[in-house]
């Protein structure tokens, strides 16, 4: 027994070390965002500065309206996530619970869209948006991302694991398709929905080229463009860039922490009902 405990604490130390190694770049970024330019350039490199400054944060906020950009990113993410969850669960429902001719072919067609790199379609999408006179609007920011093959695939795979009997029993009790989807299927697929939400959030939050193309004015732009605006190519001031990065890192970290709780909660709930 005692040996077990010793072994366990050893593993714990190893895990802690691994976690520290993985997170160290972020810790260094946070530490460096409080350093002066000469602290950053000093040799041997400093990991913690003796005289921390907050001017980097002040400069970052002064040169870029970061809060406005954050709000825009949140709005865009919220719309895209809501839309993807609705479209993906409805489409996946059809693919997994309805029997119809060409179902598999259609599903394959949806999957093949994942093979087309986003970079290849971005210009064509931009031309469409221009023709519709939608440039510099929130609509343009979200329109191409309201649905996605990845979400459909994810939800469909999850629905496939749901026993057919559940659906049959509901049908016998007089439950229609829409009601089955909303009040039976959705509650038990919270873990899948949560992972979809996190995935879509990270992807949308990190978008750079698309928001850059379709927006022009400062009050429609998103955080990643703000990051680029902090980076002066000929005289990069890394302290300021890192201060900006740390600020925009906070929301994504929070999303992950909150999302993780949902993931686990949903997973255990499903397991009991299995």
């Amino acid at each position: 027994m005692r040996k077990d405990k010793a072994l366990q604490s050893l593993f714990f130390v190893i895990k802690l070390l691994m976690a520290f190694t993985i997170i160290s770049p972020i810790l260094y970024a946070i530490s460096a965002s409080f350093m002066t330019n000469s602290d950053l350039a000093s040799w041997p490199p400093k990991f913690i500065t003796s005289n921390p400054i907050i001017t980097n944060y002040q400069m970052a906020l002064k040169s870029v309206p970061l809060f406005k950009f954050l709000m825009n990113s949140f709005l865009v993410c919220a719309i895209v996530i809501a839309a993807q969850v609705i479209t993906a669960s409805c489409t996946a429902y059809a693919f997994s619970f309805f029997e119809f001719k060409g179902r598999n072919v259609l599903f394959m067609v949806v999957l093949t869209t994942m093979m087309i790199p986003a970079d290849a379609t971005i210009i064509a999408n931009f031309l469409t948006i221009s023709k519709l006179h939608l440039t510099d609007t929130y609509i343009a920011l979200v329109l191409p991302y309201l649905t996605g093959a990845m979400g459909i695939f994810l939800m469909r795979q999850y629905y496939m694991t749901v026993p057919k009997e559940l659906k049959e029993a509901s049908t016998i009790d007089g439950c229609g398709d829409l009601r089955f989807l909303t009040s039976i299927l959705t509650p038990i697929s919270i873990p899948a929905i949560a992972s979809l939400c996190i995935y879509v959030f990270i992807q949308t939050y990190n978008q750079f080229l698309w928001p850059l193309l379709v927006t022009n004015s400062m009050d429609k732009r998103t955080v990643q463009i703000g990051m680029q605006m902090l980076h002066n190519s000929e005289a990069a001031e890394y302290g300021i860039v890192l201060a900006g990065a740390v600020m925009i890192l906070v929301p994504s970290t929070l999303v992950f922490i909150i999302g993780q709780k949902y993931l686990i909660k949903g997973m255990t709930a499903g397991a009991v009902k299995g």
């Binding site: 709000m71 993410c77 996530i81 210009i123 605006m229």
Partner: protein
């Protein structure tokens, strides 16, 4: 029925809640979709949707730029000054990421809905001319009898093809030596006389290391721009057809005229010395320089302020002209940076407004302020006579005058090559140079031939696919 609906609503709500877990609270949605007053006083005109005539007689103009950070603030100040100085035009500045991203965006923007004024890097000139997106600045100069004599001829020279000025230079920088003042002093090297060519650089670097002032004497970052500069300094052409200026370039020249081979040989020779070291690209080299690890590096003069703040408390930073490959070289360096272009939107009022703005940006007062704010060279000769700039040159940045003088002593006819695929070419030069630096055994001739073949292919594709 009613129950079903309430269930749907409940489902929607749960979805919305999940969405809220994705970062934004749902209450934030209406708040941020209304055009609330910007909390930052940064952009003065934000509500106008597109560039068309607004209320009154004020014409709205759109200006695309690629200046970030400190330079972005300086350009904003310039535009605000212009808007305050007159009432006919109101310029809205729009940052479009770096120059390459801006070109991508411009290419996919339907004609007429793009910007009225655009800032683009030096090497984009051939593409801009070939694409027909811009109006020739020379036409406006001739029409108004505008006096261009105040513009540094060596800077304007780069944007002149066949005696026609295409873009008006705006942000200019030139390559130079950036050195550690205390280290050179300790080694007994006079930066004004002892850094003239590669042989002198070798001697100086040796002295630095011998004196123990720095671990590394000299480091040249692998930057394709420097290669181009040394072709110019040897008074040779980079590409054919008058360096791409009388007609579109069809092939590179630095292989056949021997300039490239000499650069590769000199560079390899320098790096193989014990007192020199290859540190990588510009960022890596600047980093080591800022740490006081190397005494002499070669960079754009625009890095001066940044290097100074990195070296603060350790040493002082000095600037000197870029060395010649051989003492007898008669050419000179050309400029980098960017120019302002008047974009063709088929509207005379707007193009005239753009012309007014770029003239304003070129005035001595504005160029003085711009240079102080950014570290770029002023393109206006008169800027050095502006009081604020005189003070800047004497107190804050005395070495800047050395660089301005070096540029003035260069020759307008050595303005540097022009071609449509310059950013590709630069990448190719850097890749081959990296191989050559890391393997001093590589024959310079083979290295140059490899560069030439690849760039020639790119030029051929460009010429076949562009009009």
């Amino acid at each position: 029925m009613k129950k079903t609906f309430s269930k749907i609503v409940a489902a929607m709500l749960s979805v919305a809640m999940l969405a809220a877990c994705g970062g934004g609270t749902s209450s934030s949605q209406p708040a941020s979709s209304t055009p609330e007053a910007s909390t930052e006083a940064s952009s003065s005109q934000t509500q106008a949707p597109e560039a068309t005539t607004g209320g009154g007689d004020t014409t709205k103009l759109v200006f695309w730029h690629s200046m970030a950070g400190r330079n972005g603030e300086a350009i904003e100040k310039l535009v605000n000054d212009f808007n305050a100085a007159q009432t006919d035009y109101a310029i809205e500045i729009q940052y479009q990421s770096n120059y390459d991203d801006a070109i991508t965006k411009l290419r996919s923007t339907p004609k007429g809905s793009g910007p009225d004024i655009m800032q683009l890097y030096d090497i984009g000139i051939r593409w801009m001319v070939d694409s027909g997106y811009a109006l020739k600045v020379q036409d406006f100069v001739d029409r108004d009898g505008y006096d261009v004599s105040d513009i540094e001829p060596n800077i304007a020279g780069y944007y002149t093809l066949d005696n026609q000025l295409y873009g008006l230079p705006f942000n200019s920088s030139t390559p130079c030596i950036v050195y550690n003042k205390e280290a050179l002093e300790k080694a007994g090297v006079d930066p004004l006389t002892d850094l003239g060519d590669f042989a002198a650089i070798k001697a100086a670097a040796q002295k630095v290391v011998d004196s123990g002032a720095c671990e590394i004497g000299v480091a040249i970052p692998n930057y394709g721009w420097l290669f181009e500069q040394w072709v110019s300094i040897q008074d040779q052409d980079f590409v054919d057809n008058g360096n791409g200026r009388t007609d579109r370039a069809t092939k590179v020249m630095f292989d056949s005229n021997g300039a490239g081979e000499k650069i590769v040989a000199a560079w390899q020779d320098l790096v193989s010395q014990p007192y020199a070291q290859h540190l990588g690209d510009t960022d890596a080299t600047k980093l080591v320089f800022g740490q006081g690890g190397v005494a002499i590096i070669m960079e754009s003069c625009a890095v001066y302020a940044n290097m100074q703040s990195a070296a603060e408390g350790q040493f002082n930073v000095g600037l000197a002209p870029l060395p010649k490959i051989e003492a007898g070289n008669t050419g000179g360096p050309s400029v980098g940076g960017g120019a302002l272009w008047i974009m063709d939107n088929g509207d005379d009022v707007r193009s005239n407004g753009a012309w007014e703005f770029i003239k304003f940006a070129a005035t001595p007062e504005q160029q003085a302020q711009w240079s102080i704010g950014t570290g770029y060279l002023p393109i206006s000769k008169g800027a050095t006579e502006v009081d604020s700039y005189k003070t800047y040159l004497t107190t804050d940045n005395p070495d800047f005058m050395v660089i301005i003088e070096a540029l003035r002593n260069s020759r307008p006819d050595r303005a540097g090559g022009v071609m449509g695929v310059f950013s590709r070419a630069r990448k190719i030069v850097q890749d081959e140079m990296e191989a050559a630096i890391n393997n001093p055994e590589l024959d310079p001739k083979t290295v140059v031939e490899k560069m030439a073949t690849q760039i020639n292919e790119e030029i051929e594709i460009y010429n076949k696919t562009t009009k």
